[in-house]
């Protein structure tokens, strides 16, 4: 029990450290010209950071499928909006 709390108390600090590290990495990468890959890398790192915040800080990790549904459905809708709008503006 005591050990269990001790380990779980470490998780936020580890996540915090990972978030700081990823922030430093994404800033450093932005100074290197990778062409289109700059966008890909920046979005991948941002999504990794967002996942860490959602999973551990918002503790989605231990949530029920219902809460997961509430969290993921808006992202699906956002993807639909993006795809729908882009197919219109890009193919016009």
């Amino acid at each position: 029990m005591a050990h269990g709390t001790a380990t779980s108390r470490w998780i936020p600090l580890a996540v915090f450290a990972a978030l700081l590290l990823l922030t430093v990495v994404t800033v450093l990468v932005s100074f290197v010209d990778l062409g289109l890959w700059n966008v890909v890398v920046a979005l991948l790192i941002a999504s990794a950071k967002a996942s860490l915040v959602a999973l551990f800080f918002m503790h989605l990790k231990g949530e029920s499928p219902l809460v997961w549904g509430f969290a993921l459905v808006p992202i699906v809708f956002l993807a639909l909006i993006l795809i729908g709008t882009l197919t219109d503006t890009m193919l016009r």
Binding site: T23, N38, A46, F57, M58, A71, P74, F77
Partner: protein, 196 residues
């Protein structure tokens, strides 16, 4: 438990219901910011050169500093909720107080950035990139401001002895909202400052 009137007031059920309520609200928030992210994507694909030139006018060091400020504020929320779950009200108030302070630092940096941009003649009407920059960071800034009010209210609740290890729903729910504000900035920072 068979009595429906007590079932309605089951604190666990109430907590879960409140949580779903917050996630539903956050879903609408995703779509609110999502509209702006969509506009950003469309115009960025249409005018890549303009975005490339204009985004370099933002100070990525200040952007990075603000990223660290918000991430730290989120950690303080996590530590605060953990404290109140263990019944440590004073520690909770200190943690949420730190979050509010960091939110203030974030807005001060934002204010300095806006002032510098105005000084260089960069306004929302200057071009599409700066329209989006001011719209997106402005809407996010409003969320930071509202968050400060919300978190302050929860600290006042705690000062009045209304929160405990048994009942900490306001702390948890305002915390969820604050993490979302952090999450939006996690995308805004690279999109506006780093890859334009």
């Amino acid at each position: 438990m068979s009595d429906p009137s007590t079932e309605d007031h089951d604190p666990t059920v109430a907590f879960e219901a409140a949580k779903l309520g917050v996630w539903t609200f956050l879903a609408t928030e995703v779509l609110l910011f999502g509209a702006l992210f969509t506009a950003y994507t469309v115009f960025r694909m249409k005018y890549p050169e303009m975005f490339r030139v204009e985004h370099a006018k933002l100070d990525r060091v200040l952007g990075a500093v603000n990223t660290v400020v918000l991430i730290t504020s989120s950690l303080m929320v996590v530590l605060g909720v953990d404290a109140i779950r263990r019944g440590k009200a004073r520690l909770f108030e200190a943690c949420f107080g730190a979050t509010i302070l960091l939110a203030g630092v974030f807005l001060c940096v934002k204010y300095a950035e806006y002032t510098a941009k105005f000084h260089h003649g960069l306004y929302p009407r200057t071009n599409l990139f700066f329209s989006l920059y001011f719209m997106m960071t402005g809407l996010h800034g409003i969320h930071v401001l509202l968050g400060m009010g919300l978190l302050s209210y929860v600290v006042v609740l705690s000062r009045r002895g209304r929160l405990s290890a048994r009942y900490y729903t306001p702390a948890e729910m305002s915390g969820l909202y604050w993490h979302f504000v952090d999450l939006v900035w996690i995308y805004l920072f690279p999109l506006l400052y780093l890859i334009g």
